[in-house]
Structure formats: C-alpha cells, structure tokens
Assembly symmetry: C3
C-alpha cells in the first residue's frame, strides 16, 4: 500500500489523494428478477424484483478521542433499464449525508430515510425492502406515503420523490445507553418542488397548500428503541412518531422476539392522522405480523397485515418469501403475495385481488 | 491490505465494507477530439470523437466450484460537456447487468448490447466504436437502428435511447466448446416509453404501434460463433439473428482472418427485414470489408461498405484511421471517412457526400 | 496488493482491471449547513452552505520521459436533496477533462473552469467557493456571470449551466519557468443549447443572438501568473482576459502578499466590457480586498468589494468568516456577509441590504 500512497503523493496538485483512497468504501446492490403483479398498472415483467439497486460511496475520518466525521452518498437505479430510480429521482436518492459521531452520539445533515422509517425497517418481515410482498412502504406506515396527496414524508416535494425521506434535514442519534437509543430528525420548512396544489381543507380555488407552498410547521420524525444485549438480540421494541410538512402525523409502535436464534417474530401497529388536511375519513390504522426463519443457508419470510381506513373496507395482505444464499453476498429469491385492495367507488364484492410473484437474484458488493 | 480491512471492519454498521473494497473494479475511457462532419446537422467541433466515454464499476464474487456472481454498471457521458450521453440516456447506458457464471455458461439480467451486437463488434474494423468512420451502428446492421421508426433494438423505447440495446432482458452465453459458443438473449414485452406512434402498416389514426404500445412477441437476439484456438485466433466466424419488439428482423453473418499476426481482415453481410411494419421497400442489405494492420506501436484501420435499400440508391462508405499508442492505455488517433448518403426525394445527382475528420486522444483507466 | 492484482488478472475479459485499480483516485467534498439570506428568493434553510459538494474520479498514467496522461471527472451535487447541482446541470459539472502533461506543459480537452477563473480562485478570500459571502462568482468577475443575458462564460448555453466554464474547449498550461506561467484556453463556436434569444443590439424580432445561435468568434480565456518561490509563496500576481461566445470581454488583474506566513492579503480589480451587445451601460468595474489569517487550527477570512455598473449605483459587499479545523479533512465554519444590492428601478434610498448567515460542516474525502 505504501507504494501507491507514494505514487499519489507525487501527483502534486492532488494532495488529498492519499487520504481519499484509504477512506472511501464503494458498495452496492443489484437486484434483478422476473416479476408479475396482477391487476396492476405495472406492466414490467423483468425488473428489480425485491430490493432497490444501489451504488454507494461512504467513508469516515478519525478525528481522535473517539470523534469521527462520516459521509454517505448512495445512488439508486433500475438495473433493468440502467436509469436512476423511477428515471426522475435525485441521483443520490439512497441518501446524501455528512456528520459527526462521538460520545454524544451521531449528528448528520442532508437527505435520507426519516429517523422513524430507518428504525422500522428492522421490524418489517421484508427488512424494509420496498416491493409488493413487503410491508414497510404501505401497510407498516398505515398508508402514510406519497401516493396519498398531503401524506408521506415529503408532501411538498415532487410527487415521485418517494414518501419516506426528509430532504434539508438534520438527524441526531443518541448513544446506546443500557440498550436504549433515541433518534431525532427535523426537517426545514423549505418547499421541495410541490407542483400540484394540495386542496386539503381548502378549495380548488384556494387550496390549503398551493403550488410551491412551504411548510407552516417544522416536520420531524422521532423514534425510541430498546434492544436486548448481544449481536443477535433476543428482543427489541420501538415507539415513534412523525409529522410531515402538511402536519399529517404517523405514530408507530412495534417489537420483535426470537424464541430461538433461527426464528424472529415481529409485530407492529401504526396510525395515521390526516385531520389537519381532511374533514372526514382522516384516520388510517394498520397492523402487521411477521416472521423470519433461517433454514440452513436459506431464509423464509412471512407476513400478514391489515389496514383499516375510515370509510373504506379493509386492505389485507399475505406474503411468503424464500431466499437461498449461494454465497455470503448473493442469493436467489422467490416471493409470493396476495393483496386485497378496496376499490373506492365500488361495493365490497368488487374488491380487487392482486397477486404478486417474483423470482430473482440479489447481489451485494 | 490486511490493515485497511481491519479498519473497515471496525466501521461497525458498514459490515459489507471489507468485501466491497476487494471486489469492485473502477474503469473507464475518456475520448476527446476535434471532429468535423460536412453536410451534417452535427455542428459540434470539439467532442468525443471516436469512442464513447465511460466510467464503470464491475466485480465478481467467487462462489466456489467454479461458480461466480458477476455485476457490471457502466456510465456513459460526453467528455466535452460533462453530460450523460446525449443528455437524456439512462445513467448506466453502457450496461447494467447482474448474473451468474459457471460450468453451464453465463446468465445475466438487466440492460446491455444485444447478444448479436456484442458479437459483431469484433468484426467491425473500428471495433464497434460508434463514430461516423466506423461501420457497426449503421452499415454492419444494414440500417437497423433507432433513426428508422420501428427499426433498431428498442423501437418501443424513447427514441434517443440508442438502437443496439435490450432493456428488461436476459442473456445466456454458453461455455466455449471446441471453439464454438452460443449466445442467446431475450427481452420482455414491456413498453420502454414509446412516445410517438409507429404508423407501420396501420394508419395515422390507427397506427400499428400506438404511443405506449407493448411488444406482441418477445424480442430476441442470437449469435453462434466459432473461433480458432489461441490468444490471437487465426480466424473466427459468426452467424446471428435478431428480432425486435416490432418484429423487424436483422440477420448477420461474418468472418475474420489473420494471414499474419499483424493483419486482421474482416467481412460481414447483413440483411434487415421490415416486412412486418412496411408494405413496400421492406428490405435493406449491406456488406462491409475491413482491415486492421499493426505497425510498430500504431494500428491502421480501414473499411469499405455498401448498403442497398429497396427503392433508394446505395449508400457507400470508405474510412481509414490511424492510432498511435503512446502508452498501454493512451493513444492519439486520426480518422478520415467519406460517406455517400442518398437524399430520399432527390435524383441521384443530388446525392450528398459527407466527409468526416477526427483527431483526438483516447485514454483508458 | 499483488494478490488482488492476480485475482483481477484472473478475471479474463477484465484485462484493464489491474491498471484501473492503481490509477483511479476517488475524492470528494460534502458541505452542509444552516444558511439564511435575507431579501433573497432563496428560501432554503438547510443546504450546502459554503462550498459545492463533489464526488470525483481522477488519475494519471506515466508514459515515461516525464510524460503523463491525465483525466478528471467530477460530479457536483446538492447534499441537502441528493440531486445533481441545481437539478439540471451536467452530471460531471465540476469538470470532465482528459489530456497530456510533459516538459511542454499540460494540454487538456473537455469542460471545466476557464483558464482565468481557475487562476483567480487563489486571489479570492473565499478561495473561489461559490457562496453569498465569497467574491469569486459576482464581485471578482465584475458581474460577468450567467444571470446577465449575454454575459458569463457560456452565454449560448442553457442558462442554468453556470457562468464560469467552457464546454467543448481546449486548455494549455505552460510549464512554470522562473515563477512565470501562461494559461491559454479556447472554446469552440458550438452552440451549447441557448433556449431564449439574447436581444443584445438587435430587436426582439431580430435578436443579436437568436435561439440556438452559434458564436461568431472563438471564445477564449488567458491568464499569466508570477509566483514567488517556495511552497507558501510570499507573493503572486496575475493578469488575464476572457472573451465569451457573445464577444463580451472580462479583464482581471490581482495580487496576493504574505507579510507573515499566517496572513495572506489579496487585491483584485476587474472590468467587464459588454459593448458588443449593449449600446449603453456597457461597462462594469469591480475591486475586491481580502485577507486570510491563520489562528491555531482556525482560519479567518475577510473581504470587502465594490462593483460599479454604468447607470446604476454601486454594489458593496462586506464578509467575514471563520473555519475551525477539527481534523485534516473536516472543519466547521461560520460566514457572515452584508451586501448592498441596487434596485434598478428605485431611488438609492430603496437599496436592498442582503444579510447572509451560514453555519456548517465541510468534509473532504
């Protein structure tokens, strides 16, 4: 290694080179599969089937006395087309954050998953991977997501920019004390590019949040966690709350428990409060039960959840998945899921069943 | 190396770091030159003159028993402006693929050059580099390319996304057995963003492929190759066929031969069948002869080809080029080319001669 | 290191891998802060506060006899949103250049800061960092920038693409001889995407530079520098001139002096000549005085400048900043600035005072 450091030092103008090479970690994920979702607008057959694909750069600098500077930049892309995620999302959609870590905890600035949504990924039977079979992006959040105007983490942003991230935000993670940790996250009042008005409790002529509107209150996201000791904790619990820039709130609580090392049982409950922007039907509730079971080099995932929306019949989802590890960084997976989705304007007999199948390969590097 | 692995292992949350660093290869190409093409809409003077510029990330994981997981992500960009290729193409326009390799061959999923077009690059006197002097993107494919509505590898995609790639596709390369190899490639029926209808055998009011149309048949690309033994084979032949999502077909056959190690002679013949979307003038044929000759640290490239399109006069192209290697990874080049392009609505006397000059530098890293 | 080279060599098709890994340097900057600018359209509160954020790839290849091939690719992005810079700029907005270096100097092709603007960064008390407190992008250039139609380095480009870079250009830096160096830079006549006409001395119906116009003369940028010997030269001077593609000219001269090693005093004077596109008010003049003072691990920056525009009252700016290095690659900063901006259509009493505050973290990797 010395030799190349020397070579780099000789580069003259490139004085930070030697540091750079020792501190940047390049990592990523490619997930490609053959998927099919019935009764869905998504006609893609071959695509990233389960996890989002990533190419990331991260590093840290030791500042002495246990203090560190950290950064993290993560590109998200579609492996089937080579485009950035949804073709329109930010280049570093995964996250772009910089900050400091020390005895006081971790402080970071930038854009990333909200504190609460970062916490809940560990309580989703699909580990927060955003696919139809998983529960994180729809059921676990009690419908709190970009597809519902005014809902989701970034309602004043461009609609396609995802509903579980804060931009222009600050994160604080406390140190872990006797298993307890506190995670705080506050965004700015900045408008992130809202291009169609959110009528809310206003009128079409005078919408509650007009095009380009800014937040009236600071959005925030909080979670508190307790984890039993050990590398594979026997149990963990969390409680958290989030308020977005249209003052819609989402509250969530959950736990996991390992009756034996190979089995992880999970349960979460969430509630979304849309009363700031809706006069009626302003509450959504949801619960999810899940399990992960390790069999040899394989892992079975299973989950069942229900969402109850004021004025609508229930949404129900049942999923099972299997992943077969063919190496430490590569696995083949099969996901099956059935979702009963209410059709708003139709009687219950018209409810739509979506079946989802995915067979793919997941590779980390 | 051990030291930095240790350091990375200490990063805690970054548990895949140690693997990452050992497996990712960063590579690329910058090609910048001074070019001029007469009678052309392209007014650029300084630009990538010969090859496309790339920044790529690739790696593999050994799974034991000769099995490997592979990935490949390649950014394409314009070195003269800093933009991604054509400003509008996918970020990883070069390719984004993931797959497995073993005794059975190689299976990959994602987006890349079609199997046949990957094969033919070795039979183009310009090695498939997509410039005016080269033959791969127009003559060798017998006019099968994005500029002709309904033609090219991705006619149901955004028009600027290039005509020699499949997205949402699967590749299979057989093992090489006694010099023979089979390459199969099948795409999905997915629509890739077609924004203007392809009238084809329909009418303007009822086009054969309306905006957003999906393929009726699975697009595919096949090639079979035979190569003589050795690192610099004395000869090789291929035969291949491709059908795109509008069922336009392109058939191609070719060979190269080395009468002495420094000289490589090439010949290809191609035919495009547009009968599925055209009532008349549905056939294009083309042949190309080429040579590469090594002189000291230099390489001379030469080629001549003709394309014969039903109902039009012939297109003829003559090119010569020289590259002077100033190091293992860097060369300076000069390309000269003359192309006689038919003007569809004019008599033969009006045919347009395009002269192309390029002087540039090509650097690999 | 040998081991991994071997492993890479075994990758077969990936023959350039071994070279690649030894030659690519990954580097970057993340700058995130809490900023506020009064009387400004910019409502962002948390954002890159001082410097632009970067992720770069660069390398060089030794060609023997002191000759080198060089490349440089630099992504610019917004750390607060994860987007590329301004969401619309080229991917490699920082620069994309490739070239050769030897006894004759350095020749590079591509896109980057103009030769003169690359020189002046060393004479700006904010080191060319493009923020409200700094002087480089507005005062030092005497108002020569993208916001003034027809002005700036790329007036025939997309308006958001920045006003201090040439695309499609060539750079030549002479060797340093007895402290003297010459930097030449010439662009092409290419149109870079001008989408709204520049009326200039024409009329709205017949603008001087219509949409898509090309340059009539080659744009260029020149600077000559003299630097006293040593790693921390006691003084340096420069003189330079630039002409853009609408033939607007900017002339600049400056010097710095270190009365003691910890103190660097700077002075620059610039003049913009818009006479080719304006009948009246065609001259802007500006001067800036600055100081950098090192205190322990901290650095104090201070500057004052005035810009005098024909027919307008003067713009005045006063800035102070402090950065506290908490490590070789990380610092915390605080910037304060006051700018008196003339309101074109109002009496002097209506002049607008902009106050700017920024508190942030700056991390290099």
């Amino acid at each position: 290694m010395k030799k190349s450091l020397l070579a780099l030092a000789l580069m003259g103008a490139f004085s930070s080179a030697a540091f750079a090479q020792s501190s940047v970690v390049i990592y990523g994920t490619l997930d490609a599969g053959i998927t099919k979702t019935t009764n869905s607008a998504n006609t893609a057959i071959l695509e990233g089937g389960r996890d989002n694909s990533k190419l990331g750069f991260r590093g840290q600098e030791d500042l002495g006395n246990g203090l560190k500077a950290l950064f993290h930049l993560e590109i998200r892309y579609e492996v089937d087309t080579g485009n950035i995620e949804r073709s329109t999302r930010p280049l570093f959609q995964g996250q772009s954050r910089v900050g400091l870590q020390g005895g006081f905890g971790t402080i970071r600035l930038g854009r990333a998953l909200t504190a609460l949504q970062e916490t809940t990924t560990q309580f989703d039977p699909w580990s927060g991977m955003p696919n139809v079979a998983g529960f994180q992006t729809d059921m676990m959040v009690a419908g709190y997501r970009a597809a519902v105007p005014g809902s989701g983490s970034d309602p004043l942003g461009v609609s396609s920019t995802s509903g579980n991230r804060f931009a222009n935000a600050l994160w604080y993670n406390s140190p872990v004390v006797e298993g307890f940790q506190l995670n705080l996250n506050v965004g700015s009042k900045e408008n992130n590019g809202l291009t169609s008005a959110i009528v809310g409790r206003g009128t079409a002529a005078a919408p509650q949040y007009p095009v380009g509107a800014r937040a009236e209150a600071y959005p925030y996201s909080i979670s508190a966690t307790y984890m039993a000791p050990g590398n594979t904790p026997q149990y963990a619990v969390y409680v958290g709350s989030e308020r977005n820039s249209t003052e819609v709130k989402w509250h969530s609580v959950g736990a996991y428990f390992r009756p034996m090392p190979a089995l992880k049982l999970m349960a979460t409950y969430g509630k979304q409060d849309l009363s700031h922007i809706r006069a009626i039907n302003d509450t959504m509730k949801a619960w999810v039960l899940g399990a992960n079971y390790t069999v040899g080099t394989g892992l079975i995932r299973a989950g069942y959840g229900q969402r109850d929306t004021d004025g609508e019949i229930k949404t129900k989802e049942l999923s099972v998945g299997y992943e077969h590890n063919i190496s430490p960084r590569t696995y083949i997976y099969l996901d099956l899921s059935q979702k009963k989705v209410p059709v708003a304007t139709a009687p219950a007999s018209m409810d739509m069943n979506q079946n989802h199948y995915a067979l793919g390969i997941h590779h980390n590097f």
